[in-house]
């Protein structure tokens, strides 16, 4: 029996996520794929909330998964995010000096 291709080499698969955007009032369903980067995932979540319930801020957005901030170019597959997992998307607000 041979091992299958590495997760990041497989055809993109649908990954429905439980997501919350910043200070929004509810978790929402957001479908992404294993090939999406964290920048794309953040944008997919923000699409439903930013400027609609949470005022848009001029900062980059970061995906937080199991308490860890994930790099913008990391894919869903590489991050090990699974269907029905929870992610939070927050504005990456620079700390006040």
């Amino acid at each position: 029996m041979t091992a299958g291709p590495e997760p990041e080499d497989r055809a993109p698969e649908l990954v429905p996520l439980n997501a919350i955007f910043a200070t929004d009032f509810t978790q929402i369903l957001v479908p992404v794929t294993t090939a999406n980067t964290m920048a794309e995932v953040a944008a997919a979540v923000a699409y439903h909330v930013e400027g609609k319930r949470v005022r848009a801020l001029p900062y980059a957005k970061v995906v937080i998964y199991h308490g860890e901030r994930l790099p913008a170019d990391m894919t869903v597959a590489a991050a090990g995010i699974e269907p029905l997992d929870h992610i939070a998307v927050e504005y990456d607000i620079p700390e006040q000096s």
């Binding site: 429905p16 439980n18 919350i20 200070t23 929004d24 009032f25 509810t26 978790q27 929402i28 369903l29 957001v30 699409y47 439903h48 930013e50 400027g51 609609k52 319930r53 949470v54 005022r55 848009a56 801020l57 699974e82 269907p83 029905l84 997992d85 929870h86 939070a88």
Partner: protein, 506 residues
């Protein structure tokens, strides 16, 4: 011939039991229907209701009640009272009709189960009256709602709501099936008469009646007040049942009561909370939902627990904190997902209304005001499209309501936090810790699938907003929308607005 004195006949008519000689007792009162559990069979002989009634007395009283309530209805039918009601209040009644009419019928089934499988003659006798009560409530609620269909097709959901896969209906079916349909007689007596009826229906039928009268809806107030007069009698099935169960199995008694209280609290936060704090016109609000809960539910529930030697539920602190958040989050959810409901939710966040909300709930502006401000700015920018949903809110596996309960961190930050559980190869999400705990302890039960589960399983086709609305039975003529956007946005017209949807798109 002289009539017998009451004490000479009452025992025979209210507490006749059978001594089975051809079959075992277990065959007549099987555990899965009767639910005696650790309680010795003979212990139930002590079951006694405190307020006793005979069948002729019952019929005479009920006849008078029916005559009175329908007389008022007939008189008001000829008036134009309904036309002068606010849209907000009408929504409160639509929520009630759709959410309650068929729950009353489920109540018939629960009472019938106790009338057949209750473990004492007196209990079964009382449950016969109880099922007649519930049948009256189902009929009266359906009749009053039906009357209004000609004026507004959303009232058709009085009878329709429970037969659909609308997410609110699924949530209510999930709660009441667990409480009434699939439970045994002992658990029903604790969950329905004791917790739900002596506890929560006070809120819906007495407190909401006060708001109804203040809002000028005499007919609705009359209807729910008439229903409430029955509750006092049949709800007393809970006390004697709990008393016996506590003596032999206090752990089970505590668990069943705790679970029923939690489920009821979640449902009332979704339906009664918005009706009281948002849909009822500001000038007609008697108290806030929180104040009603404190006065009508919490004090009484705690007294009941103490009376029977039970403890406060393990989730008590989480429940009390939720009084400041649950129904506000749910109101925003019902409003934002308004095409998915059968009433017209008033946003009700004008300056005066927000002043009232902030006075009643000191954290309201901090937790909810910022989101409403963005919504208001979008409406004032003629961008209502940005206030409509394009995906589903995540629904709690246990209560089927949106996971929308913000909590405050030690650092003071308000966020909706993930409450999850990995079990049997999949991930579940919950709105609260208590919903997760209830799922865990009851995980062997067959539960309804949430709308999100159904969507992800491909049961809803096409997999888009149109497919979801169609699956839920919503048609354009009854789909919810805000009845008056200007009423709550005009105070803010003309103010500068940054970071709204138009800015994101550009």
């Amino acid at each position: 011939m002289a009539l017998l004195k009451r004490e000479e006949w009452q025992g025979f008519v209210r507490d006749v039991d059978w001594s089975c000689s051809y079959v075992d007792d277990e065959a007549v009162y099987p555990e899965w229907h009767s639910g005696t559990g650790k309680v010795p069979r003979e212990a139930w002989r002590a079951w006694e209701e405190s307020y006793k009634v005979s069948y002729p007395e019952y019929v005479a009283t009920q006849r008078e009640k029916e005559a009175a309530v329908y007389a008022v209805k007939a008189a008001l039918q000829r008036s134009s009272a309904f036309d002068s009601l606010s849209e907000g209040w009408k929504s409160a009644t639509k929520v009630h009709f759709g959410g309650v009419a068929l729950v009353e019928f489920t109540g018939v089934l629960a009472e019938l189960k106790m009338a057949r499988f209750g473990l004492a003659g007196a209990w079964r006798n009382m449950a016969v009256f109880g099922q007649l009560d519930e049948l009256r409530h189902a009929a009266i609620t359906t009749s009053f709602g039906h009357e209004l269909i000609a004026k507004d097709p959303q009232y058709d959901w009085t009878q329709k709501a429970f037969h659909t896969n609308d997410w609110v209906a699924i949530s209510l079916r999930n709660l009441f099936d667990a409480m009434m349909t699939s439970s045994n007689a002992v658990d029903i007596a604790l969950q329905l008469p004791l917790v739900f009826e002596t506890g929560f229906t006070n809120l819906q039928f007495v407190a909401l009646a006060a708001d109804a009268l203040a809002s000028g809806d005499v007919n609705f107030a009359n209807m729910i007040s008439s229903i409430q007069t029955d509750e006092a009698r049949h709800s007393q099935q809970g006390g004697p049942t709990l008393e016996i169960l506590v003596e032999h199995d206090p752990v089970r008694a505590q668990w069943v009561v705790d679970k029923a209280f939690w489920g009821s609290a979640r449902a009332f936060a979704a339906l009664t909370g918005p009706a009281m704090d948002y849909y009822t016109p500001l000038e007609h609000r008697k108290q806030s939902y929180r104040e009603f809960m404190e006065e009508w539910i919490i004090d009484q529930f705690v007294r009941t627990l103490e009376q029977y030697g039970l403890n406060k539920p393990w989730y008590w602190d989480e429940f009390l904190r939720g009084l400041d958040t649950w129904h506000h989050g749910l109101h925003m959810g019902l409003w934002f997902w308004r095409p998915t409901i059968w009433w017209r939710p008033m946003a009700a966040v004008s300056r005066d209304e927000r002043t009232w909300l902030a006075e009643k709930y000191p954290n309201w502006e901090k937790v909810y005001g910022d989101k409403w401000d963005v919504i208001i700015d979008n409406v004032n920018n003629n961008d209502v499209e940005a206030t409509l949903p394009e995906t589903l809110p995540w629904l709690c596996t246990t209560c089927h309501l949106p996971c929308c309960n913000a909590t405050q961190s030690r650092a003071g930050t308000w966020r909706v936090r993930d409450v999850r559980l990995s079990y049997d190869g999949r991930i579940y999400h919950f709105c609260t810790n208590a919903c997760r705990q209830i799922f865990w302890k009851d995980r062997a039960n067959v539960n309804h699938e949430t709308l999100v589960d159904r969507f992800l399983a491909g049961q809803i086709q096409p997999m888009d907003v149109g497919g979801i609305l169609s699956y839920m039975g919503l048609t354009p003529d009854v789909m919810g929308d805000d009845p008056d956007y200007e009423a709550w946005t005009r105070d803010y017209a003309g103010r500068p607005a940054e970071g709204i949807a138009a800015a994101v798109r550009s």
